[in-house]
């Protein structure tokens, strides 16, 4: 598996001609705006208007105009899915569809990158990495679907087999912060294992979602096996409660993730225990030990905390620093935060773009207000309604019970805490119910091992940034309240989307093994 898989190459954006090409793709996309995404059920598109998605960095720019899908559309989609022949298709055909989709996406990468930049305000480098991740998901799941074999113990006269079976319709409910790769990963995993999919994208990114649906249908997914249902939370709730849905693949906040757990089996007429594959938020901590190399740690932490404005579930939210280096660290980190460039996502110089929507801005401002008087550094915001000023906060000056160090803020705010030693830091990390990612900056191998063992998080990064997981290299997912434990793009992810069936056949006839 690992030998046969290559991550799709990132664009070499440091070359001016490569940047030019992207700017060209953006100009072409801008001429098409607003896009008109449709609801797609059974291959039929239906359009309307009344809803829109806008460029977070320039909310006057309309990226998409559309109408939300109604429950009736979802109902129809579900019926089609239940009757679909997709689960009966030979596995090789499903695999081939994913591979074809990967190829098509690779051909259209510039346009998709530009669309991500526009619709969710993600800077170029991150947007490009997301497109690569999406291509990787398709290829990785295609390859792993081919390799899922389980050997059982065999004795003479008996043949034992374990098969993976499609589970039935899956609902994919996805976030806006990775509007292409996350939904495409969840959808393709379900599809390749034979489950038809009802896909509801985030309200903020319907155009990206539409591209996914069209990509997969064009690559050969049966029309009744994939429905595209752009809509708000009510449709999501309907899908979650619907007894005929077998699997729910969700990426989003802890609060919604827990609500899904509660609601999934409330309605009457459940036909199965739903499989919930949930990847939820974090409150990710970076431990900085006394022997840290600050030259490495400071830039890596800045990138982890402020890249894409902290709007990644893996983003760094807290740093816990050994008191022996805390002053130097605080000083250098402050200096690095002050020069962060806040600006439009389509500017190659931008480091922190606008936040996704006005709701995110007011949420950020609420936390920022709680930090009044404890700021260590802030960067200049840009002019525009959805820009905020990135903040570095001294948690030592906040009250002990402050939500700032416990709740996921999903914005450019990092807190700094001095600790006596790494034991105290570990204690604080373990106090948190979220356990998604963590970072360690230390240079003593045995100490690092000891820290890793005591960290509860799903992913631990040592001496590097804690964002930017790559398919096959860092299978991604959380423990604790941060997820149900599946690791996206890991060796066992696809199993979550299948049922197991064991077949034992007696091959003795008339006392003879035939």
């Amino acid at each position: 598996m690992n030998e046969d898989f290559r991550n799709h190459p990132l664009l070499e954006l440091r070359l001016p001609e490569v940047r030019e090409e992207l700017l060209g793709a953006m100009a072409a996309l801008d001429r098409e705006l607003p896009l008109r995404p449709a609801t797609i059920v059974g291959g039929t598109e239906s359009r309307g208007d009344g809803e829109r998605s806008t460029d977070p960095c320039d909310p006057a720019r309309e990226v998409a105009t559309l109408e939300w899908a109604g429950i009736d559309a979802a109902e129809r989609a579900l019926e089609l899915a239940l009757a679909a022949r997709w689960p009966l298709r030979p596995p090789e055909k499903r695999v081939a569809v994913l591979e074809r989709a990967a190829g098509r996406l690779a051909e259209r990468r510039h346009r998709m990158t530009a669309l991500i930049v526009r619709e969710v305000g993600k800077p170029w480098e991150d947007a490009d990495a997301e497109v690569c991740e999406a291509i990787d998901f398709l290829r990785y799941y295609a390859l792993s679907a081919r390799r899922l074999h389980d050997d059982l113990i065999q004795v003479p006269g008996e043949r034992n087999e374990l098969r993976l079976r499609p589970r039935g319709p899956a609902a994919v409910i996805s976030p806006w912060n990775f509007p292409l790769s996350i939904p495409l990963g969840m959808t393709s995993a379900a599809l390749v294992m034979g489950s038809p999919v009802l896909f509801k994208p985030a309200e903020q990114s319907p155009a990206c979602g539409w591209e996914i649906a069209r990509l997969l249908l064009a690559a050969g997914v049966d029309q009744d096996a994939l429905a595209y249902l752009p809509a708000g939370g009510d449709l999501g709730r309907w899908l979650v409660a619907e007894p005929r849905i077998a699997t729910i693949a969700f990426t989003g906040s802890v609060a919604v993730g827990l609500e899904i757990q509660r609601r999934a089996h409330e309605s009457d007429g459940q036909r199965q225990i739903k499989r919930i594959v949930a990847e939820l938020g974090g409150k990710n901590c970076v431990l900085v030990d006394s022997d840290v190399d600050l030259d490495e740690a400071v830039p890596a932490i800045v990138r982890s905390a402020y890249g894409y404005g902290g709007q990644k579930c893996s983003a760094a939210a807290r740093t816990l620093v050994h008191q022996g280096v805390a002053d130097r660290f605080a000083e250098r980190l402050s200096g690095a935060v002050e020069i962060l460039r806040v600006g439009p996502a389509d500017d190659f110089a931008t480091e922190v773009p606008a936040l996704i929507d006005p709701g995110a801005v007011s949420k950020f401002n609420r936390y920022a207000e709680l930090c009044t008087g404890a700021e260590l550094a802030r960067a200049q915001p840009a002019a525009g309604p959805q820009y905020v000023s990135p903040l570095l906060v001294d948690a030592g000056r906040l009250p002990d019970d402050t939500p700032v160090v416990r709740e996921e803020i999903f914005g450019p705010l990092l807190t700094l805490e001095r600790v006596r030693d790494m034991d105290q830091a570990i204690g604080r990390v373990r106090d948190l119910p979220q356990a998604l990612t963590a970072g360690i900056f230390s240079r003593q191998p045995d100490r690092i091992d000891e820290l890793i063992e005591r960290l509860p998080t799903g992913v631990v990064y040592v001496d590097r940034a804690i964002t930017g997981a790559i398919v096959g290299r860092q299978p991604f997912g959380g423990n604790g309240l941060s997820g149900t434990g599946a690791r996206a793009a890991g060796p066992s992810y696809l199993r979550h989307f299948a049922d197991e069936q064991v077949i034992s056949t007696n091959v003795v006839r008339h006392g003879v093994v035939l």
Binding site: R14, E125, S290, I339, A349, R447
Partner: protein, 447 residues
């Protein structure tokens, strides 16, 4: 023609390597070399010790340092560990024993560092520089420091550069005349010679937006060049990783385009032959009006490039073709190609060939001779701690040698130190091959 050149290269190489080693003057150097030599063929041990050297100055006291050493040494698997380090692998490696190792390793690291780093600051180093000068060696001073992540750090680096220029110019004024070091075919040479790092001069280096870093660096480059002009000093911009190259050239060309700097100061840039586009880069520099149409021609230092592993790793992780040649001999061949190009252009620039590779060095000299050039038309440069023996040989041949001399504190100097140590013990590197291979093998043409 080529055969004659090869014969001459051989003669020159013999002459260069026949020189008396100077290590007796610095016993620490000899000792350090022996230690490094013993790492040959023991990659795990080498990696363990280098990681220790890297972390040691950041440790809190002897015990902490001992604990680090123990951890690194215990990771070495399947290789013979030197006797002196073996107790660290045993169960007794606790408390006092660790502290003892920590105490001993402090001076050991400092001693090692001292081979490569001439002092804490410029005042600390001026005696060494003067002794070198008297001995017939020019210098290029380099200020080691932490990387620059903030405005304040860029400003601090700027101040250090300015201060260093002043002290250097002041001190060097009194030194006795050294005809070979004081002038070349283009005229007077600045004595005070400072190499600076663009990435230290701005915290805004962003490979995706080179204009941003260039504009910010230019704000500090400007007054530095003014100062160098007043003091009659030389400012050389070192080349760093590929991510910074565009920013560096933009900044330098931008500032030098100003009428104000047409006459002075003396400036220099670096071309790295390990880059696949090195030939084009040199052409770009040679045809850049702001660099070459100056009253004082620029010095162009040709090197192979110090970031080969970094460039290869980054490119590999991102799925890019690396910007550097994949094979050592390609870098060597490129180096010779560009050596010739530079020597051919010596009427408009000052060529400086910087290498410790006997073949690369002898080739430059042989080619200059073949072109009928005079000795003073070519400058040869080596690094302190790596090229000391070679420097003697170069002087004996009657060529000007300039020793790249870093100063700075240990913590900050670690990145530099580790890179030099790696170079000293890398399997591809000339310095290590020198121990095993015959002169014939070492002098084989790279093509």
């Amino acid at each position: 023609m080529e055969a004659a050149l090869e014969t001459r290269i051989r003669e020159l190489a013999e002459e260069l390597s026949r020189t008396e080693p100077v290590t007796w003057r610095r016993p620490a150097v000899a000792l350090g070399r022996r230690q490094l030599g013993s790492l040959d063929g023991r990659p795990a041990l080498r990696s363990a010790l280098f990681r220790f050297v890297d972390a040691a100055p950041a440790c809190r006291g002897p015990f902490d340092r001992g604990a680090h050493l123990r951890a690194f040494v215990r990771e070495v698997d399947g290789e013979r560990v030197p006797l002196a380090l073996r107790p660290l692998r045993g169960p007794a490696a606790v408390g006092p024993l660790l502290a003892a190792y920590g105490l001993a390793s402090g001076p050991a690291t400092a001693l090692l560092a001292r081979q490569f780093i001439a002092g804490r600051d410029v005042k600390d180093a001026t005696r060494t520089l003067r002794a070198m000068w008297r001995h017939g060696q020019a210098f290029a001073l380099d200020l080691l420091g932490e990387s620059t992540v903030s405005e304040a750090e860029a400003q601090a680096y700027f101040k250090r550069c300015a201060e260093t220029l002043r002290v250097l110019a002041d001190a060097a004024r009194e030194w006795p005349e050294q005809p070979l070091l004081d002038a070349d075919h283009h005229g007077r040479l600045a004595r005070a010679n400072l190499s600076i790092k663009l990435t230290a001069l701005t915290p805004l280096l962003r490979p995706l937006a080179p204009e941003r870093g260039a504009a910010d660096a230019a704000r500090r480059l400007w007054p530095l060049l003014q100062l160098a002009r007043e003091l009659g000093a030389h400012v050389h911009l070192d080349m760093e990783d590929y991510d910074s190259r565009e920013t560096l050239l933009l900044a330098f060309e931008g500032v030098l385009a100003s009428e104000e700097f047409r006459e002075a100061p003396s400036v220099g840039v670096v071309v790295q032959a390990y880059l696949r586009d090195a030939d084009e880069t040199l052409e770009r520099i040679l045809s850049s009006p702001s660099l070459t149409q100056r009253a004082i021609p620029p010095t162009i230092r040709l090197v192979k490039g110090a970031y080969w592993d970094h460039e290869s790793v980054i490119a590999g992780q991102r799925g890019w073709q690396a910007p550097v040649w994949a094979e050592k001999r390609e870098s060597d061949a490129c180096f010779e190609r560009l050596t010739r190009r530079l020597i051919d252009a010596r009427d408009s620039v000052r060529p400086a060939i910087a290498t410790h590779n006997l073949r690369s060095l002898a080739h430059a000299i042989a080619y200059l001779e073949r072109c009928g050039g005079e000795r003073r038309e070519l400058e040869l440069q080596v690094l302190r701690g790596l090229g000391d023996d070679l420097a003697e040989g170069i002087s004996r041949l009657g060529y000007r040698v300039r020793i790249y001399t870093p100063i700075g504190d240990l913590v900050a100097g670690m990145a530099y130190l580790v890179r030099r140590l790696l170079e000293n013990s890398s399997n591809e590197g000339f310095l290590l091959r020198q121990r095993h291979q015959s002169l014939d093998e070492l002098l084989r043409p790279p093509a």
